[in-house]
């Protein structure tokens, strides 16, 4: 087994939202480390800063203070353009509400990150092939030209997983990926994520459901913007 590499190394992350006169410290010195290949869950009560942490980890916003190394690169002080590049080339997002482009086919949604990938060496045909292949891999081979409104919630979430994977990210971030799904579709999505994890993808997922968290290797619990405790999940789900 090769020596594992640190994908996420966040230290003392602080995020302050300025709301007129008073401020909200959504993150208040959270530190988090994730190894390559790990499947980790973030739990915590509502308002504890889970989404804020995901957005910082996902380079959708910069922390107010603290250090954040992603895949060995200091990203806490990058500008908008560089953050966009990181999101494009190193990260894949899975949102609770899917966030697919409306009236746009699954295929077009999945190929979108490739459009913005300046580093991609793929030709247009190869990009198209890749998008189609990934849709096939998430079980939507027969629906690649369906638009989101023609797909079930579970299928839409599969499209968004395919989109998250298309640029071969070093890290996949999922904010309550099963939050809008019934338990059966939720289980299917989790099986898919688990499968990705087995193939080596590093995944960090927010959930408030202990059963969902149980799919992962490790859970950290947030409270008031800080990591309150950490639990190794021994058990495996099939």
């Amino acid at each position: 087994m090769k020596k594992s590499k640190v994908i996420i190394d966040g230290k003392n992350l602080v995020k302050v939202y300025q709301m007129g006169d008073f401020e909200v410290r959504a993150l208040n010195g959270a530190s988090i480390q994730v190894q390559e290949g790990e499947f980790m869950a973030i739990m915590g009560p509502s308002g504890s800063g889970k989404s804020t942490l995901m957005n910082v980890l996902g380079c959708l916003m910069s922390p107010t203070s603290g250090e954040y190394f992603l895949d060995g690169e200091d990203v806490s002080e990058l500008n908008k353009v560089e953050l966009a590049r990181i999101r494009n080339q190193k990260l894949g997002f899975i949102f609770q509400n899917y966030n697919l482009l409306a009236r746009t086919s699954a295929f077009q949604n999945v190929i979108l990150p490739l459009f913005y990938n300046r580093a991609s060496l793929l030709t247009e045909e190869e990009q198209q092939e890749k998008a189609a292949q990934i849709l096939e891999a998430v079980g939507l081979g027969d629906r690649i030209y369906h638009e989101p409104q023609e797909l079930s919630g579970g299928q839409q979430q599969r499209v968004s997983i395919a989109r998250a994977l298309v640029n071969d990210p070093v890290l996949v971030l999922a904010d309550e990926p099963t939050g809008n799904l019934d338990s059966r579709s939720g289980a299917e999505i989790m099986a898919l994520l688990k499968d990705l994890h087995r193939k080596g993808t590093t995944i960090v997922m927010v959930t408030h459901d202990p059963e969902i968290a149980a799919y992962t290797d490790r859970t950290i619990h947030l409270l008031d913007g800080k990591v309150a405790r950490e639990v190794k999940n021994g058990k495996e789900h099939a």
Partner: protein, 418 residues
Amino acid sequence: MKPIKVTKIAWLALVKNKIRSLLTMLGIIIGVAAVIIMIAISAGTEKSIQEAITGLGSNLIYVQASMGAARMGPGMQSSGGGLVYDDAFAIAEQINGVAGVVVEQTSTQNVKAGDTILENITIMGTTADFPSVRDMEIASGRYFTQDEIDRTKPIAVLGSNLAEEMFGETDPYGQTITVGDSVRLTVVGVFEEKGMVGEVDYDSRFYTPITIVLEKLTNNPFARFLGDRVRLIYVEVDESIGENSERTLDDVIYQIEFLLAKRHEVTLEEPDFTITTQQDIITTQESTTAAFRSLLAWVAGVSLVVGGIGIMNIMLVSVTERTREIGIRQSVGATPSDIRWQFLTEALLLSLVGGLIGVVAGIVGSWIFGQASGMRTVIVASSVLLAFGSAAIVGVFFGYYPANQAAQLDPIEALRYE
């Protein structure tokens, strides 16, 4: 991102919203079509006027009496200055390169032919070269000769409309018409239809030897006193002048000036006549129609700008409506400049496609307008380019602000937008 990808993304976004895209383009379509149609109308008018002027006969020089400059010096008659009938003959005989000379003197009178009485008919007294200088063809009968002019023979040649009004189906040849109270003229010919030349309807008047008008039909109580004074002499210059001969039109003009100055005993610095060429008239006409044209172009340009503001308006609404889309694009790696370029390209595509539709609408519209109004329209290639080019510029100009708004959205805010 490669331009081709940006274009593709922008195109897909536009096609996804066909109705909105069409509405956005409407202003541009109307603006571009308006530019083309308006310029087509003014160019058509211009061309008609130009043809009317050249329809008067080519290579014409106008010699006009400038009565205002008539001198009232001692030893001169109070009506001194101006042209006389004989000046025309002097020009015809003494100047090289003159193909024909025409003198015209008109009079407006009531005219009777049999039982038909027509009021305020223009009678044009003229000379022998008139048909050739004016490009008038005789349809039946004949024109009058110099000899008949010299003898003040009471004869007339009718314009085609007038002939029909007076005599209907009857052959006018040999019929008598009475002008005013007592002047009786015999019809010897009828002209072919000529149509309107500028403001003048050559078909609704009739033509007599100029001596008839000068001696018998001049209402002016000083007629006798004025004698054979004329207002205007037309000189037709040989076709060859100015083209393949050494001599230019200016040479001919100078010779005429010199001759007339000598005859009138005036200096060239203070002549009692002015000489104008066909080209002078065309130039004047062109400058007025050019002014008209640029006025229309301004009006049309304003409508293009209004179209551009329309684009900006709808793009701004569109940026708001599509906030979430922008957030999604940002989350998968679109940079601010990717977003800016997308919206800018959308605006540009909208105005180019709108411009293209506008060009077609303008061309078709000009044609329909011409058919419906009877006005002449001429599509001017440069107006098509101008309209299309302005549409593109308008698109970029008015697309920039909304595109910039879109680019500056915060990804998190944008994603959270409902």
